[in-house]
Amino acid sequence: MTALKAAPAINAPMGELRLDIGVRNGRSLATGQYHRGALRVLRPHYLDESGQVCYVTVNQGGAYLGGDLFTMDITVAEGARLLLTTQSATKIYRTPKAFAEQRLRVNLGPHSTLEYVPDQLIAYRGAAYRQDALIDMDESASLIMSEVITPGWSPDGQPFRYEQLRLRNEIRYGGRLLAIDNVLLTPPSAGTADFSGQPVADITGLGFMEGFSHLGSLLVVDPRVDAALVTELRMVLGEHEQDALTGISQLNGPGFVVRALSGSTPRLNTMMSTLTALLRERWFGQAALNLRKH
């Protein structure tokens, strides 16, 4: 279990990325860009005429290994709009000595937007991983971020053989702490033990995955979010409840969070993109997101 506590070597990140997004001639694009090591971005592209720029991050190593640290520093300047995604699933291989880690710092200026839609996370047997995002946004900025966590991969095909996943998002909105979205999945000790130390519930069961295998989250902060919108989105979610268990709730400010349990990545992706399609259409006049990656 030492890999759970041993931090990666912070003085030598495996990959670093810095991206400053601004606006030029009505279109958003990088005004500053730096990358080092195994992390880089593909050439920017535009999925529609809205001016929202799309950058795709690439992990050249293909996966995270034990002790790897990846850092991303994203700034979206006033009025700029960024869509950030990954080239493929984030894979965490076995981390025998120290956990792998990704740190994301985001700064959203006035009237800027970030849509962060990474591919699903796949932790291999024996993997320990931390993901830490600190998002500092202006009160007029807009944030949409989603995440899908799979039950991982193991040679014998058994789910939940990874050691631990920690995913923490901290949102500061207008300088004030708005939300801490913290997910901690530790399959070996997810259930409460009984007198003899035997687990009485495991990660697939009561309180955790409730019999499902995949966990999806959607976090949205935007001054246009109100109780009526949350109710409307809840109705939409209700139509995606076959083989799924979902919840939505308003944050302590103009934002909401969705948690969803289901049996597959596509099912959760469909659910999340149905919700974000409504927001993209209403707020930005954009069509549903189609990343055409696969």
Partner: protein
Amino acid sequence: MGTQPQMHPHACRESPAPPSYLLPLLQLSDSALPTGAFSHSFGLEVYLARGVVHDENSFAAWLRQFIGQQLVYSDGLAIRLTDEALGGAGSSGAGARCTGLDSPRFEEVWELDRQVTAQALPLQLRGAGIKMGLRMLEIGMGIFPSAALDAYQEQIKSGRCTGNAGVAFALTAHGLRIPLSQMLAAYFFSTATTLTQNAVRAIPLGQSAGQRVLRLIHDDVTAAAATVMTLEAGDLGAVAPGLEIAQMRHEYQRARMFMS
């Protein structure tokens, strides 16, 4: 506060007096303390509606997960960090009494209040923590007044803090020099007692079944208090997703006895 231990001559065969904090701790963790906890199920009612929790055993399973996989990471960790920020109950300097209320130690506590509210993503759960925090603070100020509790109320009035049951409990308990491990065990067991009473009414269960569940939960409470001591500050809010989803769904469940 409390009774001073009385000195007895050696010849006296009476047993020594209990620690001065024992009775205050019993009073603070009594399920009759009017914090409004009886109005909250913390998501249990959703499990009842789904039929997942329906008897003594299934309720015990839920309660163990709620304490071990939610309370530990929210109120439990907040209680520990509050106590540590103030220097611990047994430390020299007698904790809050020798610490200026504008000191960085208190700033840490006020920041914890904001964090523990921010980590409660389900709206009703967040509301419960705030509401019960305000009640706990009021009760604390009424029976164990201290400058620290006054300062907390000031922070809340000015909008810099929201109020939280765990933080208010820890501030009160710290002023009474209650050791941290006992604060944690008492808080967890007190919550378990209230939730069991709620389950007795809502499932319903017999009173004897409720007492069996509470007996069963002793080891979980002890384990939960020990787990709190192993966590790091960044673990605050690492709540099991199924429990969170139930707490969110309670907002739109049709028939409801409870406020969360």
